[in-house]
């Protein structure tokens, strides 16, 4: 009995685990209404109405899915919400549309060529919806147990017990499966289906047998019968796979070489051609449907001239996704050349793009964003502290002000206060320098730093060369 109790305590702890907070985790959509008009504050988005409206039009274009190979450039100063708009677009598209996000510098790798990396990214952004027979586990959850293996920080071990009206089985789970179970907040009494091949979890509802467990169940709680018969069934399921996944399945060498599988390296162009013709065949027979997705390249100015000319051609193929790029550069050198061009992107590619500009936020918008971030980071902030923080954001940068939220809340916690006060913000403002004050400091004390010959020009020369 003791062990069961211990297991249950473990279960409670792991399910109420804190989710990690990222820089854009407060974004839940583009914040548009049904007629694609932007709301002032909605779904974590604030202001930037023109850009969001433009994104709404692009969203509609993607949903209709007819036009392949459009490119969109999000251009604006740092911290004006370019990445946020891209993330919002991804959220608004939903999980069924492939959305690949990469940084421009990701393509520079020793393992594969630049064009191969770009091709893979492009093929990751095109989905194929296909019917396939698959092993489905369908049952009512009896117990979820997640434990850490003995030894410091060992791999987590998970066990899931499922039942139907006729049988009961225990399952072992891998780390990914545990994560997605926790993410879906699966608990005892839920009726779920799990796709055995992909590990996709679908919550069908709560079992009728558990209908009286709680007095306060949410409005949306749906009650379903406990399934009967065998737990594991073969069912026709509609899968969405990306072209890249099909490439990988068909390119992996079996037998002895499979020992070294894992990273795929480069994929031969013959395989890609075979798959393209096969997919075309499936589409003609009505077996599969193509879903053009979105490839988002952040920091697009980090791509070089070869990539740009490759993209020029790739965008013209009929199996091209919609490419969204973001850059914060003005007129600058195109990487790999000595030519200067707007946004660091050659004019011929710019000509194929529609450009969406983002503009700096106003003071009240900054306040709204900081407020949203405070909520996201679970931090109570007094009104005057928020005003100070907004001042900081206008005078330095929004990113720096956001950094101060959690640090200030930690300072407030140290003095056991429930709310972050103005003093806390001031304290962290003095503790952590922003970019401007740091520069000032360096200018003052430059002579005392290492490797400094006193002339400011030397470092500039270095920069030119390294570019």
């Amino acid at each position: 009995m003791a062990s069961i109790a211990a297991a249950q305590v473990q279960e409670v702890r792991s399910i109420t685990r804190i989710e990690r907070i990222g820089a854009h985790s407060h974004i839940r959509g583009l914040g548009l209404d049904d007629s694609l008009e932007p709301r002032q504050v909605s779904q974590g988005m604030v202001g930037q109405k023109m850009a969001r409206k433009a994104a709404g039009v692009i969203l509609q274009m993607i949903r209709e899915g007819k036009i392949a190979g459009r490119a969109v450039l999000l251009a604006g100063q740092p911290g004006t919400g370019k990445t946020a708009i891209a993330m919002g677009l991804a959220q608004a598209l939903g999980p069924d549309t492939p959305f690949t996000s990469m940084a421009g510098s990701e393509i520079f790798s020793l393992e594969m060529s630049k064009t191969e990396a770009l091709t893979q990214a492009i093929r990751k952004s095109i989905g194929i919806r296909i019917k396939e027979e698959s092993e489905i586990i369908e049952g009512e959850v009896v117990e979820v147990v997640v434990e850490r293996a003995a030894g410091g920080g060992g791999a987590r071990v998970g066990r899931l017990t499922l039942k139907t009206t006729d049988m009961e089985t225990n399952y072992d789970m891998g780390a990914k499966m545990i994560d997605s179970l926790l993410k879906e907040k699966v608990q005892a009494g839920d009726v779920i289906t799990i796709d055995k091949a992909t590990g996709k979890i679908n919550k069908l509802g709560r079992s009728f047998a558990r209908a009286r467990d709680y007095d306060a169940t949410g409005q949306q709680a749906r009650f379903v019968q406990c399934p009967e018969g065998e737990l594991q069934k073969r069912k026709e399921v509609v899968h969405t796979v990306t072209l890249h996944e099909v490439d990988v399945i068909n390119s992996r060498t079996h037998g002895f070489l499979a020992l070294f599988s894992g990273d795929t390296g480069e994929i031969k162009s013959e395989i890609r051609e075979q798959i393209n013709s096969k997919v075309a065949e499936w589409r003609e027979e009505g077996k599969a449907e193509m879903i053009p997705g979105v490839l988002f390249i952040d920091e697009a100015h980090m791509l070089d001239i070869e990539c740009f000319s490759f993209l020029n051609r790739a965008l013209e193929s009929e199996t091209a996704p919609i490419v969204i790029m973001a850059t914060n550069r003005g007129i600058t050198r195109i990487r790999g050349t000595t030519y200067r061009s707007p946004h660091g992107i050659p004019l011929d590619l710019l000509d194929r793009m529609i450009i969406v500009a983002t503009s700096p936020y106003s003071q009240s918008e900054l306040k709204d964003i900081l407020n949203i971030r405070c909520e996201e980071e679970d931090c109570q902030m007094s009104a005057d502290a928020l005003t100070v923080l907004t001042r900081v954001a206008t005078e330095t940068s929004l990113r720096y002000a956001i950094q101060l939220i959690t640090t200030a809340s930690l300072v407030a916690k140290r003095r056991k206060a429930a709310e972050v006060s103005m003093e806390d913000v001031k304290k962290v403002y003095s503790l952590f320098l922003d970019e401007h004050r740091s520069e000032q400091f360096l200018k003052e004390y430059q002579d005392e730093f290492m490797f400094n010959d006193g002339s400011g020009d030397a470092s500039q020369v270095m920069m030119e060369v390294s570019q």
């Binding site: 296909i130 396939e132 027979e133 586990i137 066990r159 899931l160 039942k163 139907t164 009206t165 006729d166 049988m167 009961e168 089985t169 225990n170 399952y171 072992d172 789970m173 891998g174 990914k176 499966m177 799990i194 055995k196 590990g199 018969g229 065998e230 796979v241 996944e245 099909v246 399945i249 068909n250 992996r252 079996h254 037998g255 499979a258 020992l259 599988s261 798959i275 096969k278």
Partner: protein, 234 residues
């Protein structure tokens, strides 16, 4: 008018076909030769390998499917039958074992399989003997009274239920299905030892005859003599 007579004729031939089926079920000795299964076996491209006491036959069917059978040379019992199952998206495909012990994976599957049954959960193995079709369900600790095993001819399967609602399994009998035979409750026997439930189904005469005949037929396939030695260095 001509059309009509023609229709009647086809109708009659249909009736004949039905009669044939009835004949099969009543157990006329050589009726298995008319089944689709026997014909596909005959038409398949076969190759044979002999390794000590095991005779391995590889079938390549006209529709592209592949099957491997392994026979014990002394007892003429089928030790293993496996089908190659290819995914719709392509790739190499995996071997699905119909009869015999599963083929151990060269690569541990633990990385890619995100959810698997625990090691201590019941597992079904097929192992046929000369006169019986056998299912062994290991890791079933409950006493023999717990199980009820029944033939279900609507779904053409055997159903195992447990009174404590801990285990439930439906399985088809492909051997009987291929010969269009019904499942007879009277042919089912079961026993329970060492946490293993063994279900035996007496092979009907049809199946016995066919297996015997087919083994004779397989003698025509000449085993490959010069097996390339995969460990030879150049």
């Amino acid at each position: 008018m001509k059309r009509k007579t023609c229709l009647i004729e086809t109708f009659e031939s249909c009736e004949n076909y039905d009669k044939k089926h009835r004949n099969i079920q009543s157990g006329t000795a050589t009726m298995y030769k008319n089944t689709i299964w026997y014909h596909t076996l005959l038409d398949a491209e076969k190759s044979c390998l002999k390794e000590e006491k095991v005779k391995k036959i590889h079938y390549k069917f006209e529709d592209g499917r592949e099957m491997v059978e392994e026979y014990n040379v002394d007892t003429q019992v089928l030790l293993r039958r496996a089908w190659k199952v290819k995914g719709k998206l392509g790739g190499e495909g995996k071997w699905h074992v119909e009869i015999g012990d599963p083929i151990p994976d060269a690569i541990s599957n633990s990385d890619c399989a995100e959810i698997t049954e625990c090691k201590d959960q019941p597992q079904v193995f097929r192992r046929n003997t000369r006169i019986n079709l056998e299912w062994r369900i290991r890791n079933l600790p409950y006493p023999i009274e717990t199980y009820s095993i029944s033939a279900n001819n609507d779904e053409r399967c055997i159903v195992i239920r447990t009174t404590n609602k801990k285990y439930f399994k439906k399985f088809k009998i492909p051997e009987l299905e291929r010969l269009n035979l019904n499942i007879e409750q009277a042919n089912i026997q079961s026993s329970h030892h060492f946490n293993t439930l063994i279900i035996m189904y007496k092979k009907p005469q049809q199946l016995l005859d066919m297996e015997k005949e087919w083994y004779e037929e397989l003698k025509k396939v000449k085993p490959i003599k010069d097996i390339p030695n995969d460990c030879k260095t150049q």
